[in-house]
């Protein structure tokens, strides 16, 4: 069990946990998106560690990392577009005030 691999995987796990905490506990849309970014970053760390320590000769791992980075950027772009639209309509992007569909 290589210490490098363990450290990298534990870092990924810690970032994932912090990301879940952030995504669930924050009331503002932008902060929730920060939580999601942290979760995806944890996944990226795991992917690179798997590539480097288990399959360094196959580049499918690096392709996966590129796709996840692309998805991070896209999800941020569309999320901020939605945030702008919501802000224009309601004046805030707080989740507490977005309960109109509830119940």
């Amino acid at each position: 069990m290589s210490p490098d691999l363990m450290i990298a995987l534990l870092t990924g796990a810690a970032l994932f946990g912090i990301g879940i905490y952030g995504a669930l506990s924050q009331t503002n849309l932008v902060m929730i998106m920060m939580g999601v970014e942290l979760m995806l970053a944890g996944a990226l760390v795991n992917l690179v560690a798997f590539w480097r320590f288990l399959h360094p000769d196959s580049y499918a791992g690096q392709m996966f990392v590129l796709i996840v980075m692309t998805v991070m950027a896209l999800e941020m772009a569309v999320g901020f577009g939605v945030a702008i639209a919501r802000f224009r309509a309601k004046g805030s992007v707080e989740m507490e005030e977005a309960q109109a569909l509830k119940g």
Binding site: I7, I20, V30, A41, A83
Partner: protein, 175 residues
């Protein structure tokens, strides 16, 4: 106890830095500090990729995340009521659930990481120049379909985000 190599030391250092900055994102009251803490967390992870000899990915992560998180910073300042963090505001809800879920998620992934038999760990990685060349060949050869799909998805997302964010056009009344 295996000898701690320089690589292990760097990976550990940047890993701890990434997690520390990640914690700082949600501990600080100032929105700008939150956004820039996330930026430096991603930079630390990019440096970690460089320490793991994935040079292209590390440089790409550092470059992309700097600009992305700065854009996140300006959106924070636009949309949040107290960007400086000087007023005392309650920014969280369902605290216990989220702490529980966070710890559960972290423990689950850590448990899987520690207790799985990962197999033989490779000691060397390809040279960086070779990696760039091989990644390019892979990207435009075997994974061309994925690459093209990603390109079209990026274009779609750009158009969608712009369309959602534009203000509603005033409708012309029939004469």
């Amino acid at each position: 106890m295996t000898l701690l190599s320089l690589q292990t030391l760097f990976i550990a250092f940047f890993g701890v830095a990434g997690v520390a900055f990640g914690v700082a994102v949600f501990r600080t009251a100032s929105m700008m500090r939150s956004a820039l803490a996330l930026l430096f967390s991603q930079t630390a992870l990019g440096a970690m990729f460089l320490a793991m000899q994935a040079e292209f990915l590390g440089v790409l992560q550092i470059m992309m995340m700097a600009t992305e998180m700065s854009i996140m910073a300006i959106f924070m300042v636009m949309f949040m009521m107290d960007p400086g963090g000087l007023g005392e505001m309650e920014m969280t809800h369902q605290k216990r659930l989220s702490i529980f879920a966070g710890i559960a998620g972290a423990l689950a992934t850590a448990g899987i990481a520690l207790f799985t038999e990962w197999g033989a760990v490779s000691a060397t990685a390809p040279d960086a120049a070779l990696q760039v060349r091989e990644l390019g060949t892979e990207l435009l050869g075997r994974s061309m379909l994925i690459f093209e799909t990603a390109g079209v998805t990026i274009l779609t997302a750009m158009i969608a985000a712009t369309a959602v964010a534009m203000p509603a056009l005033a409708r012309k009344k029939p004469a």
